[in-house]
Symmetry: C2
Subunit: 105 residues, 2 copies
């Protein structure tokens, strides 16, 4: 995930997930890898970028709000979300937005 | 910038800047610090989150598209953008979106 996502022409949707981790792995690494794999297999998934120092930022890109809702409600992802609340994150924000413009080199 | 931004109730706007750096500093560090300071002083600025490993992701939050346009056209920022193209980034994408939902812990 160290590449810049190859997203299509806007509009599409972005989920910006900003977080601070708790101490220790506590099963996080394996679950994070699994969630990347699982997200990528979901309908409407367009790409993902993820970086962590102290703060972590993961941005996933989606075709529609419906595809984001379906991913949020995926059973295995819901288990991961619950463990995220309980064990892995001391704080996080999820922001969902509609990307209207994209440019770059 | 290792904190999660304290943004207001949506809607507001996000600029997601994803990039790969070239080798060496070449004046980047000082300019990056200056741009954070300068961005924070702009009308409509709401916050910023930034992380870099190999890939870098910086997300800045703004009140309106107009505030984003004004920041993009700021003279000192334009100089930095030009140097970014010429020297500092091997690749980048800028994505601008309207944040409609936010939640977290």
């Amino acid at each position: 995930m160290s590449e810049i996502a190859k997203t299509p022409e806007p509009p599409y949707y972005a989920v910006i997930f900003s977080s601070h981790r708790t101490e220790g792995d506590n099963g996080y690494g394996a679950m994070a890898d699994r969630m990347v794999e699982l997200a990528a297999s979901q309908p409407g998934f367009l790409g993902m970028e993820s970086v962590r120092e102290d703060l972590g930022i993961t941005v996933s890109y989606w075709e529609s709000l419906e595809s984001i809702t379906n991913w949020k409600e995926n059973a295995e992802h819901r288990d991961a979300q619950r463990l995220g609340h309980q064990k892995w994150y001391s704080s996080f924000r999820v922001r969902i937005g509609k990307v209207e413009r994209e440019y770059g080199i």
